[in-house]
Symmetry: C2
Subunit: 404 residues, 2 copies
């Protein structure tokens, strides 16, 4: 069961993007598992991919292809990650791109491949290719919700968000979807985020926007600290609405940037809310650091600590575990200047228990399904925030049972 | 239930060390929770302590004291970590040292304090002081096994080891005990290891031996990646046997060093075998690296990965998770040169599945209670090894219930 409000708003169509989904039986029967994005000619596309050295075959191929040509199609399968599959895996991914390119009259390099699912098994490229006609026949501009479903693996809920911005009489749309629930500690991207806008954004600026907003969204979430081999986040600007936005000084830039950032943060947080076995959604906010890097480091230590995560699962205000996690981040701290609060309850200050703290107040706040852990370091002005969830029996069950 | 053979050998007395244990009711009634070590005058003592910035009050005090004088007594309580207790915690620890010093006629600085248990609660110094007479009356040179019991917290089994070395007609004894089962990813030391030898080892050489052997034992184990606020490992050379060993060139040095290292590794591994909820003991061996640092880094990524740990709990040869963990260590790798084996079963080579691997062989090896994960990087000659355990329902249960 995901944590908190995970209801989707209406996922508005984005002019210039059509989506087709179908059942290709990659791993399971009776579920949509193949998704094709059709991108209008002239659109700009930016991608960030996993920093995992064992990056999957489709990620390797995607990096080569996008360096050569403008993407016209994205082909996405679930059920098989095509990772740790060597040269054979890369060839198999390529045959699916070639097949789609031939059916649609574009170059093979204009088809970007994405895979998610089990690592280390052979990609059934023939099944994917056999499903392409059906996916293409299904192409529609109002298929974002269907795609949010068809890219799921261990997710229990589809993930998407959409914003409409009106500036000076021009109406822009930004819509995005994501998937992921485990192996989540993205590094430069997460396993499958697709965001599109109909705005006309210059290519290098688009890449900057993607990198920047990913650093505030997908790169600030963690479920279990495990960085996937297949992480990819893709941002498409179809250029169907408004004039060219080619710099941060363009009058429409800030509004579009904010809309993209809002979509990114929402679909990233939805992954944590649907974290495997999650019963609580925690925001770890670190302030008063010398640099935002050290704040992020401390926030991640807290967010990754199994002892902190199990204490939150148990609603046990065992806050010493938070301090132990803060202390192991390798940042020189003056204990007497550090303060820790859970929502509005100050638990620790001057290296010890806060004056007005009581176990009753601690227990009350720990029972909440959404909690902000605020750690003030007293060293400077920098801050950073990471989103995470607790660690429950269910996490162990899901990951001890997965693959079956 | 601890994993594999955790039976203790006879813990031989060490000339110059007496140990007294008693019930001080620090947290629970009906169990020994206060341990006093009496060290003969003239002995040398070396200590390494946690690198956690929220190091506990006794750790802070211990560092001050050992810089000033030679230790004559160690005072160890369980049930309360006296961590995150601010200046008051330090004063409380000090009063226990002062009380023991007055009873025994040594300086307060010659009494080193150690605490383990819950973080953030006030140390009942009065109860500890009230227990001192009983502990002193109990002093005996054959009390190591009793001490191994009385320093336990969530441990399910006492931990100790002993070796006797004879060189050129001189017989040396090395005996050590440890405790710990959770919040285990020591950084320069672990939560309470005490090792003593009757050899006469020069003070700075003793410190070198401690640092070196800790780096191969306590600093290479992890249960949950959480570094404790109270980690301390202490090595005492009482100087009651043999001539002074003052350099690595002394003819007895290598044999003594090896005996100390053996004791260190055994009592460190016993902590992992008793890891909270552990059902499997895993040795993560990384070879073929450019530096031992990068090998250790990769080994820790694998050892800390919740996905790897739950796969081992489930005996599921989901080896893609091992590769994903290897790949996220931030070490540049050529996938085609990496090979991974579980014991004698090669599972992965050239970035994909090994030729002779079968799921049946993978399943068979994953069922074993003790498994070596061997990762060959194909980059160089360096290697390193880390010991860890799996992640089970029981781990979550223990840590969701602890404090109650």
């Amino acid at each position: 069961m995901p944590v908190g409000n995970v209801e989707l708003v209406k996922l508005n169509p984005v002019k210039g993007i059509k989506i087709g989904i179908t059942e290709a039986h990659v791993r399971y029967a009776g579920r949509k598992d193949l998704t094709v994005f059709d991108i209008i000619a002239g659109a700009n596309t930016a991608v960030v991919t996993t920093q995992n050295q064992f990056c999957a075959a489709p990620v390797q191929l995607l990096r080569e292809f996008i360096a050569k040509d403008s993407p016209r199609y994205l082909i996405v399968n679930t059920g098989n990650a095509n990772a740790a599959t060597g040269e054979d895996g890369k060839q198999r991914a390529k045959t699916t791109c070639v097949a789609l390119a031939e059916k649609t009259g574009v170059a093979a390099e204009q088809v970007l491949p994405y895979s998610t699912g089990v690592i280390g098994e052979t990609l059934p490229a023939d099944k994917i290719i056999a499903g392409l006609d059906s996916a293409l026949a299904n192409l529609s501009d109002d298929n974002w919700l269907g795609a949010a479903h068809s890219i799921m693996t261990t997710d229990t809920t589809p993930k998407g968000h959409s914003e409409i911005v009106e500036i000076d009489g021009t109406t822009y749309t930004v819509t995005g979807i994501s998937k992921g629930a485990g192996m989540i500690r993205p590094n430069m991207a997460t396993m499958l985020g697709f965001v599109a806008t109909d705005a006309n954004i210059e290519k290098s600026l688009l890449q900057n926007i993607l990198t920047d907003t990913v650093n505030q969204s997908f790169n600030r979430i963690t479920v279990d600290g495990d960085t996937s081999t297949n992480d990819c986040c893709t941002l498409i600007a179809t250029g169907q609405v408004g004039e060219m936005i080619d710099s941060e000084n363009h009058p429409h830039y800030q509004a579009i940037y904010q809309a993209i950032k809002n979509v990114m943060i929402r679909i990233a947080q939805l992954i944590v809310r649907d974290g495997e076995g999650a019963t609580k959604f925690m925001t770890v906010k670190v302030t008063g650091g010398e640099t935002s890097e050290e704040c992020a480091k401390i926030a991640y230590e807290v967010a990754h600590s199994p002892l902190v995560k199990t204490a939150f699962f148990a609603s046990d205000p065992n806050w010493g575990r938070i301090l132990a996690a803060v202390g192991k981040a390798g940042v020189m701290l003056d204990q007497s200047k550090v303060a820790v609060s859970l929502d509005d309850v100050r638990i620790c200050e001057r290296g010890g228990l806060a004056q007005d703290y009581t176990e009753a107040r601690g227990s009350e706040v720990m029972k909440r399904p959404e909690i902000t852990i605020h750690i003030e370091l007293g060293r400077g002005q920098a801050s950073d925030t990471v989103y995470t969830c607790d660690l429950s029996y269910e996490y162990v069950k899901i990951n001890a049972d997965y693959r079956s």
